[in-house]
């Protein structure tokens, strides 16, 4: 684990994005998800999940990479640890599963990325960016080279409900889930393969801050939790 106050962020154009086969969500609804969580809790006890905060920079402002499912729901790449699994190894496993290119003959293609730009008048303007690559590029991705940084937040789920808190509430002795967010240090060049059924977004911190309605309590508080780091915005 890397512990550093300085976070290097590279422009989005530094990275190459392609697609891979769809990775469907295990649950089709929130109710299903909570029910499955209950079953797992009976078998394995409290669920520990790990998620990664991957940062890029655009226009000298840090952006977080989020996976969008469907039209609105955004989440950080990550997932549940296996019983007894080490947090860092588990996060690498999840990131590779969600975003790693596992087939060496992968052909990168169009990938729509949504970017927000803060205009001079102070409005948030949605623009589109496309990445196109030549065919027959052989990609060897070893996402294991990703440096997992420090843990920046821990959220607790007291009951089998959607509510989570940044502390274990008083009188709760058996929380159902503990979710840990880790900073992930990207190197200058990475290749990401995004499952076809998901979109990968680069969302600026100013768009996330205080925006609980759109991104939920966990993601919308990341800007505060990152505020103590010094971002080194590196341009090409």
């Amino acid at each position: 684990m890397v512990s550093s106050q300085v976070v290097n962020t590279y422009p989005l154009s530094s990275y190459t994005f392609g697609t891979k086969e769809p990775k469907m969500e295990k649950d089709t609804s929130v109710a299903d998800r909570l029910a499955r969580m209950k079953v797992n809790y009976m078998k394995e006890g409290m669920r520990t999940s790990v998620e990664g905060i991957l940062l890029v920079q655009e226009h000298n402002h840090p952006h977080i990479l989020l996976l969008q499912i469907g039209n609105t729901f955004c989440k950080l790449p990550g997932g549940r640890l296996k019983p007894g699994e080490n947090e860092i190894e588990g996060l690498k496993r999840k990131l590779t599963s969600k975003l790693g290119a596992n087939s060496p003959a992968l052909v990168p293609d169009w990938q729509v990325l949504l970017l927000f730009r803060f205009t001079d008048t102070g409005e948030s303007l949605l623009i589109f960016a496309f990445c196109v690559y030549p065919h027959n590029v052989l990609l060897h991705i070893i996402l294991g080279k990703l440096q997992i940084g420090e843990c920046v937040a821990i959220w607790w789920r007291p009951n089998f409900e959607t509510i989570m808190y940044p502390y274990c509430p008083p009188h709760i002795t058996k929380p159902k889930e503990c979710k840990k967010l880790f900073l992930v240090h990207l190197s200058e060049r990475e290749y990401f393969a995004v499952p076809k059924n998901l979109k990968l977004l680069a969302v600026p911190l100013f768009e996330l801050y205080d925006n609980v309605q759109r991104y939920g309590p966990v993601i919308s508080t990341i800007p505060q939790q990152l505020s103590r780091f010094q971002f080194k915005m590196i341009t090409n």
């Binding site: 937040a153 503990c178 100013f206 505060q224 939790q225």
Partner: protein, 207 residues
């Protein structure tokens, strides 16, 4: 309660170890006194013109009560809550400045340098783009000249501590669950403290 060992273990001490006493009202000058928002902003403008961006440091001090961490807050005039801290002098380091402020606000020897206080890591930073009161946890794009930067530090309490509080202020221990997301009562910075602390595992020490 803590299921996984974490490198960030923070010890909180039971509340009854702390003794709170009042002390005589100290003479206030413009920079350590009690302000209305308007007078504070005009004072800030003059200072910015003279010295540039203002850096403030604030301390998060935690105690345990009923097995839940509580945040120590100073309450002024029955309504304004503040973290102990204040503005740095030109050229002063964050840690020295915070120790000085803690000595002034909470210690017996208010002119001391505060060397008995142990300042831990920075939890977060808040930027004020302009003289109005909104702050952000990042420097907003297009803001070239922020007016103030506030840094919040975790401060460790020694095992036994006597607090001396100015008579016009009250020192309160407020549970994290009450402060959490309560912008209206406590303001942006204080209500955001639980989220900044979330990565620490609290080792509640029995007395």
């Amino acid at each position: 309660m803590i299921c996984h060992p974490s490198p960030n273990i923070f010890k909180t001490l039971p509340l009854r170890r702390k003794e709170f006493k009042s002390r005589l009202h100290i003479e206030k000058n413009n920079h350590s006194g009690v302000f209305t928002t308007a007078s504070r902003n005009s004072c800030t403008k003059k200072n910015y013109a003279a010295r540039g961006i203002r850096t403030s440091v604030e301390a998060v001090l935690l105690v345990e009560l009923f097995k839940h961490p509580h945040l120590l807050l100073l309450q002024v005039r029955n309504s304004i809550y503040k973290l102990p801290g204040g503005r740095l002098r030109p050229g002063e380091s964050d840690v020295d400045g915070l120790k000085r402020k803690l000595a002034r606000k909470l210690s017996v020897n208010e002119d001391g340098d505060g060397s008995e206080w142990e300042v831990g890591e920075c939890l977060g930073m808040w930027w004020r783009p302009d003289f109005e009161t909104l702050v952000y946890p990042f420097l907003p794009p297009n803001v070239k000249q922020p007016k103030e930067c506030t840094k919040v530090f975790l401060v460790k309490l020694p095992a036994s501590r006597k607090f001396i509080v100015p008579k016009n202020m009250r020192l309160l221990a407020v549970p994290l669950c009450q402060v959490h997301e309560n912008h209206k009562t406590y303001g942006q910075i204080i209500s955001g403290v639980p989220q900044l602390l979330s990565k620490f595992s609290f080792n509640m020490i029995e007395s």
